[in-house]
Symmetry: C2
Subunit: 205 residues, 2 copies
């Protein structure tokens, strides 16, 4: 345990947004037009496969020496972290790496440099108890069978890289102060990111 008490990963190096380049790739992955459709699909999946396990990555960049989090904007009013549902039997880190390739990394046949994100600590677990948008950062009393368990990880970005963003999504860099205290706009999970990161020393470029 180091001085920060968070093991060997108490520091996150955060590089300038200007280090990164951004392009697009083919649309993908958004199966539902509305939140209601998504919840209906989750119910059908639960009946077939049991609890949904999903993961998300907190990727940070620095702008004006202020930490920003990369968010994918799905619709004008909905945001999510890069990530998604794990396959049956798939490990958290393995599945998150697959989802990041799908959502942010260049295609293998693009001729662009390939790279991996370095997945760090798990920083939160959220539970969905019913087919509602709301999740909780604890398993509420009397809930023995949550419908979904969603784990958030810190991802350590390469110093420079090329992000290939599916055409149907927008990639935004949102400052921590904009997320803080703003669950109405970003949802409780994303609005809690400032709390979850506060134990780290952010080494801002």
């Amino acid at each position: 345990m180091d001085a920060l008490g968070v093991g060997s990963r108490g520091v996150v190096d955060v590089y300038s947004l200007s280090n990164y380049t951004f392009g697009t790739k083919r649309a993908r992955g958004e199966k539902d037009a509305t939140a209601a459709e998504r919840l209906l699909r989750m119910r059908a999946q639960y009946e077939k496969e049991g609890k949904r396990r999903s993961v998300g990555a907190i990727c940070m960049v620095s702008q004006h020496r202020t930490p920003h989090v990369l968010l994918l904007q799905i619709t004008p009013t909905s945001f999510k972290l890069p990530g998604g549902r794990l396959r049956a039997g798939e490990g958290d880190v393995e599945g998150l790496a697959r989802k990041m390739r799908n959502k942010l990394q260049p295609e293998r046949d693009d001729g662009l440099e390939q790279y991996e994100f370095d997945i760090g600590d798990q920083v939160a677990t959220w539970y969905r108890t019913s087919y509602e948008p709301q999740m909780y950062p604890y398993l509420p009393a009397h809930i023995t069978k949550p419908k979904e368990e969603y784990r958030m990880f810190v991802a350590h970005l390469p110093e420079k890289c090329y992000f290939a963003v599916p055409k149907n999504l927008k990639l935004l860099a949102v400052p921590l102060f904009e997320l803080y205290g703003n669950p109405g706009k970003y949802g409780a999970e994303i609005a809690s990111i400032p709390h979850l990161l506060s134990r780290y020393r952010l080494n801002l470029e």
Copy 2:
């Protein structure tokens, strides 16, 4: 790194409230009658000693198989974690242990069994940027000299022990679901505890 990705301390053993016994000891330590007086005193201290460094401990007990956090109630509307201000040059863990002895442990001459709390991971850092009640879980842009830095730690309780609570304070066990989404009552720091603990597996008795 274990499967939870939080180092060797991914689990917190949480024992039943009924394991613990509670008594009182002499009043102590609340130097200010009001929040305004406290902020004025902080300003005077800052001018003399520089940035205030303070620490708090998240202690958990289980009741009805639901995790509860121990809070000290100062007035009917103000709550805090056991902890307080560090002395000049004092380490976080050393100072927090001193504060816990002061606030929760029996006096050495009480004839009661002595014990130590096992201070675990740091889970958050909060910054006070001005002499206002509000703190932030990040250092806001353009703030180079915060007035206070407050670090929150997980404390691992002994399986059984005797808590000696100063007569001027009340010790409460408050369930996570009561804290969640309730910064108006408990303050942003305490209301964030459910998020901060969510990455741990709570081993509830």
